[in-house]
Symmetry: C2
Subunit: 393 residues, 2 copies
C-alpha cells in the first residue's frame, strides 16, 4: 500500500473514502479532485454538500457498519469529517488491513469528551478542571467545589455547542440533567477566558508534525461565528498554545489534521477546550490566507506526504454564514454584490438546500492588511444576510 506515495495517476487514481459529506467533506473532496484523486462519500443525504465533488455517494448513516465496509471496499484509504464516525467499525477495518486516518484508536479517545480530557490530563496537558457525573447529588457537590457557573457537557454525539449546558446556579442543576436525560455527562469548571484560540495542526504516520498559526475565535451560543488570523495575543501566549498543540499531537499519535480549541485565561495561561480529529471550521481561513489549506494538509497527512510548516500569507477574517433563528427551509443569500465589492473577499456557499436555526450554510473569508478585523466582520455582517422563503411553523 505504498504505491501511491510517490506517484499520481489519472487512470489508477488514489481513491479516497470520506465518512460525512458536509461542508468539510466538500472542501476536502475539492482538494482531492484538484489532484485527480477519486472521492467516495458516505452520507445520509444523496445531495449532501460534498456530492457535487464526489465520484460516488453511498447513502447511509455515519454509524452504519455495513455502509462503512461498503465504502472501504471501494477506496484505498478512509477518513472522516465528523467525530460521529463509528470507531468500532473503523477498528475492524484497520484490523483487516484498511488504511484509516486518523486511527480509530485516536478517534475513540477524542470522540468521548470525558475520555479525551482524562487522556490529556494523564499526558500533563492543561485542561480546565472536570469531573465525571454520576448522580444529582454528586453534581451538586462538584458544582459547589468548582464554583458557579459550571458547564455540564454530554460526553458524546455533541456538535456545535448542542452538547453544552451552562449551570449558572444550583437551581439550574435539575434542568441541566434533564436536558441530557440519561446521556453520559461530565462537569467542567467554567474558564473565565480572555480569548478563545485554536490551532490547526497536522501529523503524518511518519510522525512529522506541522501547524498553522494560532487564531482567535468568537463564538455565539457555542457556535463559531468569526475567526481572526493570526490571534492578537502575546508572544508568550502564542508559544504556550503551540506547545500545547504539539504535545497533544505527540500524545495522540493520530495522523491527519486536528483542530485544537483552547482558552486563554486572564493570566495568559492556555488550556485545551476541545479537540476535533478533522478539518475544523476555525481553519477555513487557511484556504485563502495560508501557503497550504487545512484540507490539502489533511490529505498530505493521511497520505504520509511531507508537510512543510505552513505560512500565513495574509491576515484574514473568516465569518460563518449561519441560518437565522426564525426560519427553516429554502433560503437565499442576499447582499452578494455589496459583499463582493470588499477587497480580498471570497464567498463559500456549501450547497445545503435548507436552512435551519444556526445552521452553517457557508462562510466568507476576507484577506486584510491593517484594517481592524472586527470592523471588517461588521461590514460583512451588515451586507450579507440569509433570507428564508417561509417562516417557521
Amino acid at each position: 500500500m505504498t504505491l501511491y506515495k510517490d506517484k499520481l495517476s489519472v487512470t489508477e487514481p488514489i481513491r479516497l473514502g470520506i465518512i460525512g459529506g458536509g461542508q468539510l467533506g466538500k472542501m476536502l473532496a475539492a482538494e482531492a479532485k484538484r489532484m485527480s484523486m477519486q472521492v467516495v462519500i458516505l452520507d445520509p443525504t444523496t445531495r449532501c454538500p460534498a456530492s457535487s465533488f464526489a465520484d460516488k455517494v453511498i447513502v447511509g448513516n455515519f454509524s452504519d457498519e455495513q455502509k462503512i465496509y461498503e465504502l472501504a471496499h471501494e477506496v484505498d484509504l478512509v477518513t472522516y469529517e465528523i467525530e460521529l464516525a463509528n470507531s468500532r467499525a473503523l477498528t475492524n477495518l484497520e484490523n483487516s488491513g484498511v488504511q484509516v486516518h486518523p486511527s480509530p484508536k485516536t478517534l475513540s479517545i477524542v470522540q468521548n469528551k470525558l475520555r479525551q480530557k482524562k487522556f490529556l490530563r494523564e499526558n500533563n496537558i492543561s485542561v480546565p478542571d472536570f469531573k465525571e457525573v454520576l448522580d444529582e447529588d454528586q453534581v451538586d457537590k462538584v458544582c459547589a467545589e468548582f464554583g458557579y457557573p459550571v458547564l455540564l457537557k454530554a460526553c458524546e454525539d455533541s456538535y456545535d455547542g448542542r452538547g453544552n449546558y451552562l449551570i449558572r446556579s444550583r437551581d439550574d442543576i435539575k434542568g441541566a440533567l434533564e436536558y441530557f436525560s440519561g446521556r453520559e455527562c461530565m462537569l467542567e469548571k467554567y474558564v473565565n477566558f480572555k480569548k478563545e484560540l485554536s490551532i490547526m495542526i497536522a501529523r503524518n504516520p511518519s510522525g512529522c508534525i506541522s501547524y498553522f498559526p494560532v487564531v482567535e475565535n468568537i463564538h455565539e451560543d457555542h457556535i463559531l461565528k468569526t475567526t481572526i488570523a493570526p490571534a492578537q495575543i502575546t508572544a508568550m501566549a502564542e508559544k504556550r498554545a503551540i506547545d500545547l498543540a504539539v504535545k497533544t499531537m505527540e500524545s495522540l499519535k493520530g495522523s491527519g489534521i486536528f483542530g485544537i480549541e483552547m482558552f486563554l485565561d486572564e493570566d495568559d495561561e492556555v488550556l485545551i477546550n476541545e479537540i476535533a480529529p478533522r478539518p475544523h471550521n476555525s481553519g477555513h481561513y487557511t484556504i485563502e490566507a495560508c501557503s497550504v489549506s487545512q484540507f490539502e494538509q489533511h490529505l498530505r497527512a493521511i497520505l504520509d506526504y511531507p508537510m512543510p510548516q505552513p505560512t500565513l500569507e495574509s491576515k484574514a477574517v473568516m465569518i460563518n454564514i449561519l441560518g437565522p433563528e426564525e426560519v427553516s427551509g429554502p433560503y437565499t443569500l442576499n447582499g452578494i454584490r455589496d459583499t463582493l465589492a470588499l477587497p480580498g473577499v471570497r464567498i463559500h456557499l456549501y450547497g445545503k438546500e435548507e436552512t435551519r436555526p444556526k445552521r452553517k450554510l457557508g462562510h466568507v473569508t476576507i484577506l486584510i492588511s491593517n484594517t481592524n478585523p472586527l470592523v471588517v466582520r461588521d461590514m460583512v455582517e451588515r451586507k450579507l444576510s440569509v433570507q428564508g422563503k417561509q417562516k417557521m411553523a
Copy 2:
C-alpha cells in the same frame, strides 16, 4: 435576467454553461461550485477534466451549433474556455436573448489573429508589424521587407504554438506555406524580445476593469513552460504593459477575463503578442498567489459583480507539467513526495487520461519569498516527471 445579481440560492442556483471542459473549464467549474452554482459543460469528451466538477456534460464539438443551443437551453449564461467556440452560433444565441460572455462580437475579433491585430492597430495599440498573406511571391516580398526571421501564423484554430511557423530564411518559405496548406495566414515581424510578459485583465458588462500583476512567461517551442509573478521589469515597462492591457479591454469592450500576452523589447517598449478571451495558463498562479483567482474573477466579470483590484499576496512561480516528447497514452506523475517537500508548493493534475507530446497535464505553483524563481523552477523540474506507460509506436 438580473435576479442572480444580488442573491445566491442553492435551490435555484445560477446555472453556468461552459463551452470546453479542459483544465480551464475544470478550474472555472471548481470556483462556480464553491458558490453552489450549477455547471453544464460542452466538450467532445465525456470524461474531460471539467467533468469531475460538472453537474452535466453535453458531449459534442465546440463548433456544433445544435449542441451549443442545447447547452444554452439549460443554463442562465454561456461562457467558453477556448477561442474555437462557434461565434456564429453564439451570435444567434445573443440575438435570441441569451447572455454570452465574452460577447460573440469580441470573440470574433479575437479568434482570428489577423482581425485581432488589425483591430488593435486601428485602436492605436502597439503590435509587431504584420501583413496579410495572399501568395508565395507576396510572402517573399514581405519577408524581405521585415527582415528574417519572420513568423508565419495561421489566423484561426491555432493553439499552444501549433499555429506558428518560424521562417528563418528565404529557403523556409515554401515549407512554411505547405505546413499551413491553404489555411488563412499572416506574416508577423519577429520581435527580438527581452522578455515575454502577460497580464490577466477583467472587464464586467458595466465597464469596470481590474487587472492582475504583470507576469513574466518562459515558452519552449511556443508552449508556456513557466510563469514568474511578478515580472522582474522596470516600473516604466510595467506601466506600459498595464496601459496597453487597459486600452485593449476598453477597445474590445468584452466582458470576462482576458489574457494579454506581450513582448518587452530591448528598448523597454511593450507590444501585444496575442489576446486570449478567457482564463489563461499564465494566470494559474493567481489561484494561490492573489487575493482573487483568475477563475473567480472571470465569474465575477461575466455575472457583473464588483471586481476590486486584485493584490499579489506572495511572489510565485508556476511550472507547467507537460507530456514528454517520446510518450503517448496512460502515464504517472512521479516525484510527488519530493515535490511536496518544497515549502509553498501546490500540485494541480488535470485528469487527462492520456499524455501526448507537450500536452498540458497539470501545473505546479510555488509561493516564494526571496528565492530566485528560476532556481525554484529548476528544483521542481528535477523532482517531478511524467512517465509514460508505453513508448510511442
